[in-house]
């Protein structure tokens, strides 16, 4: 398995991420086509919200984009052949059995950040996401919302050019949702491209720059946010927005 990230740069300014191309991408499992074929381009910094009913293939698309899965057919490529630094946050935060700050330091060490810089970067990351007081707290003892913010802090210290989020707030209460969305905006302000799945239309309205709408394993629409919510082009999208059941 090769690393998905290019070597870590200590510069705080992010290079703008290359564009992402899906070219005739299909993903099948045991002869059944679960996603695709789809072709689209993501450039700009989004935030791109990937929406659609359950089973539409949103999580698959995210994983194909991040490189966790390989397409059965077609190609996933980046412009100029530059694979950017990426990070991903999952629906359930995956944290190690150690303190909050130790989790961040671990991520930094995995990415070969020089030893002496790790603690400082880790503590700064915690502060930014309001977790400074919990540095020494065992990560698994934190609340769901705090854990998710910790996962985001971990992604932050790696200075990703692209951040993938897979329904990061579906298990959280409203206050926690607000805090996580604020964190996502921080990434956006820094220049990180956001690609995020959600089934919550209101969340999409709050965050989206553009929307990638899937249903039945196919991309039905890829439009700027306003256009999508005001005048959805596809039948499935219209049904979805009005809350009708869509298969």
């Amino acid at each position: 398995m090769t690393s998905l990230n290019s070597p870590f740069l200590t510069s705080s300014a992010l290079l703008s991420p290359p564009a992402l191309f899906f070219d005739g991408v299909t993903y099948s499992h045991e002869e059944k086509v679960l996603l695709g074929p789809c072709s689209f381009t993501l450039d700009g910094i989004g935030p791109t919200l990937v929406m659609g009913p359950n089973g539409a293939g949103k999580s698959l698309l995210l994983r194909l984009a991040h490189g966790l899965l390989s397409p059965t057919e077609g190609r996933v490529t980046w412009s100029d052949n530059r694979t950017p630094r990426q990070a991903m946050v999952f629906q359930q935060p995956v944290l190690l059995r150690r303190s909050a700050v130790a989790n961040l330091i671990h991520a930094l060490s995995v990415n070969n950040v020089p030893y002496r810089q790790r603690a400082k970067l880790a503590f700064n990351g915690l502060e930014r996401f309001g977790l400074g007081a919990y540095a020494k707290t065992p990560a698994r003892v934190l609340s769901g919302g705090q854990q998710q913010r910790l996962a985001l802090a971990r992604a932050w210290v790696l200075s990703p050019q692209v951040l993938f989020l897979d329904e990061p707030t579906s298990a959280l209460d409203p206050a926690a949702i607000k805090a996580v969305e604020a964190a996502v905006r921080e990434f956006h302000q820094r220049g990180t491209r956001i690609v995020m799945t959600t089934h919550d239309i209101h969340q999409a309205r709050r965050l989206a720059g553009d929307v990638l709408f899937l249903s039945g394993g196919k991309v039905r629409e890829h439009t700027p946010a306003e256009a999508f919510f005001d005048t959805p082009a596809s039948r499935e999208a219209r049904a979805f927005i009005t809350g009708e059941l869509v298969e």
Binding site: S3, H66, Q86, R97, R98, S99, H106, V110, N111, R140
Partner: protein
Amino acid sequence: MENNAFYVALSLLLNFDAPLYQIVALSLQVSLLAVLIAALLGFPLGAAVALWRFRGRGGVIVVLNALMGLPPVVAGLVVYLLLSRAGPLGEWGLLFTPSAMVIAQVVLVLPILAALSRQKVEEMLGEYREQFVSLGMSRARMMPTLLWDARFALLTVLLAGFGRASAEVGAVMMVGGNIEGVTRVMTTSIVLETGKGNLPLALGLGIVLLTLVMLINAGAYLVGEFSRRRTG
């Protein structure tokens, strides 16, 4: 006779005489060292089998699991044949020494530590794999992280290995020879005293051995619980 044995055990513990002390000390040294070596070899082995796909992987897992039930006397016999002067490693001159006993017990304990750590690591991979790959970890890099994260479960695995080592007699008897003052340990002493018909003493020694193992397990449990509370 059972009452007799408890009194014998108690008096053994209270008048901890030099020969008994030596036997207890040797038993602990041999088994603890064997478990340590088996862990240094077995945990990375188990983690590696969990992490990498390769041809024959299923077979390796089956063999490791099966070897958990390796009869101690068979392990002893195999190590004896290897270390005997007539055998391939005879030049090392290790037969009838505590080192041979450690080797034989490593052979016994290694499959347990490898098989159980493999299972635990594989379980954890289900939860961690995607995040680890996302963070940019190679499979080799995942190994120490997974093993450390599994440390509470692995502590229990270590205790299982230690239990196996300290309880067995077949292997250490064969390769050690039960030589007084040199390779005599608790289990072989018990066999010896039983053979002399000295059953209360044999049982008393058994109680001493169990008490010792119980203390070690209690200690490990307390350490584990204390740490676990602190790290969630």
